[in-house]
Symmetry: C2
Subunit: 394 residues, 2 copies
């Protein structure tokens, strides 16, 4: 039979990143493609103990639970955010199935067909997928390495009257960029002036290579809790498979998100929630995050050295101050999407930059992940990759 689907399915699309991931999980391919943390660093024993405690400390923990999430866990997350200057009531925090669901639920309560969202360009691929599934229109704002540029942002706010400005200001995906404090203040000032909600997506904020130098979170700067909706996750610092994230922001928005969440899946996995609560109580997560930081920083430095030593003409990158990615730009005549299959034949993989762009899609960029391979594999994989780039370049 011929099915009549919703109009929105026209805007669906499988993620290019995930399609590539399916291919490169086979054989000897060294993959810089995914956005995966290193599973060797997972705190398995602590996670095991936390789940055991969650499951055996009372049958109520295995029953249906509140849509908003476990109150004690929300209080713990409020405490952790407070250390970053983000001051939120547990009542204004909602637990989600990863921060991907936070983006989806936020979109569900905010966007009508045709609504405008301003973003960086390039930006997080799977956020673009969510936005387009709500039949919105995404308009990119010109940026440099410090963040969005004031004149272009203000012009586009005036011209398009956007419903929201979506940003990943700290170790952006894919660019690995950190917005300067001045640009953050500028963004918040314009949001207040023109009454636009900001969504601050912060999955990587904890993975800082130099914590001392960090600017403030936008959510910390939004003292009246009026303009910034903030989402984060434990997927990069504990384990992705627990599927736990959270969203916080203006009370009215979070209340509506709770209603949307109830229809979407009743509540987030509560065994995971209880387990995370035990883990935060019993385990030194901050020490573990220090280990992650220093391990990933070392790997970033290995990859940087490989890029520098290859000395490919016209190759540029921004040195990541944290997060998981290098964003590499090559001379404009190079088409990295068509190079990917050849790279995979040579047992190395990356993500071409194209799908991360809203428009003006550059074919000569790529994202390299440095967290999911050991220093030795990074050396070997970069040898394969830079050899290929050099040969194509010549």
């Amino acid at each position: 039979m011929k099915y009549g689907f919703a109009d929105r399915v026209r805007y669906f699309g499988s993620s290019a990143v995930r399609d590539i991931l399916k291919v490169v999980n086979k054989g000897n391919v060294i993959s810089f493609a995914g956005g995966l943390p290193d599973e060797e660093l997972f705190p398995v024993a602590a996670v095991d103990a936390a789940f055991h405690k969650a499951i055996t400390s009372g049958n109520k923990a295995l029953q249906y639970a509140e849509t908003e999430g476990l109150l004690e866990l929300r209080a713990q997350l409020a405490n952790r955010m407070l250390k970053k200057g983000i001051n939120k009531e547990p009542d204004d925090i909602l637990i989600t199935s990863g921060s991907q669901q936070a983006i989806d639920l936020f979109s569900r309560v905010m966007f009508n067909t045709g609504d405008i969202i301003l973003t960086e360009n390039p930006t997080y691929l799977a956020a673009l997928q969510v936005f387009s599934s709500y039949e919105t229109k995404v308009i990119p704002v010109d940026s440099d390495e410090d963040g969005m540029i004031e004149s272009d942002l203000e012009e586009k706010i005036k011209a398009y009257k956007p419903k929201c400005i979506y940003v990943v200001p700290t170790f952006s995906n894919p660019e690995g960029k950190v917005w300067s404090q001045a640009r953050r203040e500028m963004l918040l000032k314009l949001a207040e002036q023109y009454h636009v909600v900001i969504m601050e997506d912060d999955p990587y904020g904890d993975i800082q290579f130099d914590p001392a130098s960090m600017p403030n979170s936008l959510a910390a700067m939004d003292k009246g809790n009026e303009y910034v909706v903030y989402t984060s996750t434990i997927s990069k610092t504990v384990v992705p498979a627990m599927r736990l994230g959270w969203i916080t922001g203006p009370h009215q928005i979070i209340r509506l998100i709770a209603q949307a969440k109830q229809a979407a899946d009743l509540h987030t996995n509560s065994i995971s929630q209880h387990a995370l609560l035990h883990l935060l109580n019993d385990y030194d997560l901050d020490a573990h995050i220090e280990t992650i930081r220093s391990t990933y920083k070392e790997r970033m430095e290995v990859m940087k050295r490989c890029l520098d030593e290859a000395d490919i003409e016209g190759l540029t990158y921004l040195e990541p101050k944290g997060g998981m990615f290098f964003w590499v730009t090559l001379p404009e005549h190079m088409d990295l999407e068509s190079l990917l299959p050849i790279a995979v034949e040579n047992d190395v993989a990356f993500v071409p930059g194209q799908p991360f762009y809203v428009d003006d899609k550059k074919r000569s960029t790529m994202r390299l992940n440095f967290t999911n391979s050991s220093p030795e594999l990074i050396e070997e994989g970069m040898k394969r990759l830079t050899a290929l780039l050099t040969s194509v370049h010549a």
Copy 2:
């Protein structure tokens, strides 16, 4: 600031059932209100062992995973469904965060604003909430105790050209009804004739008090895998907190649901998925389901005896052949919604029937859950409830 929300939030609403649940969790109230399984029956040791195995048997299990769900788990679920005559490829099964998410994702790929869905009346409250959040229009079909009535169903299919017919044919919520085999055949025949997709929601199918007498699942009857989308869950047979359900049906629909799922939350909690796989391999779930069946059947019989002995004039009910609920009808002049606060003062709670209706909302009905209280508490709670009903009635 004044926020501009999506139009769909006008159709959101907190569930009356959940709002009541929040109240009755305090004090000495004996609650027949929720739809909760009995947590005393949870197989805690088996769940604990399964999670331990899931977490410690390889770090890959804690990494990001496939959107569709763990392939071995989908194969296991296919095997279990096959025993009920439902023949599906693992590739046409997608793991969801409970069957609530299955209803939501199905809605996301199927419905445009203004689309028509035919349902029973009353029907599952939280499905109605999902459907209205997609700004669809729900049209109720006349039913009797055997299921929808052919003439009214055909008339409404012709008149409204519905996108979907949503049914809970086995131990319906709230009515606890089982559709006859003849009505099931009629429904499928009309769906084929008029090219309408059926959503068969089957959360309670395993909780049969007399397994020998069961008619076929609609999904088992849809030999070409063309017309029936089927969803079920382990929330009633293992534990709700694992938040695991699944959806299966026509290949094209399940593929689109996978794309919707990717945007919605990337993938379902994979520690839970691995744990369920181990549980299905290592634990005799069928024996456990037998225990649940006999325990709940006994409780149903206690509640039935209490209803019969109270001998309230004009009170009628259908004896449940499975599931978790009695649906009680009282004389039309009685308003059970306004009686609820008085019942709670008398330390007993129920759900008024009103929110389960699409239209023609009857104030004189209520749903009583018999699975979450011991026989002793059912006796005591029913004493309180029937005394109140008798006094109001007089």
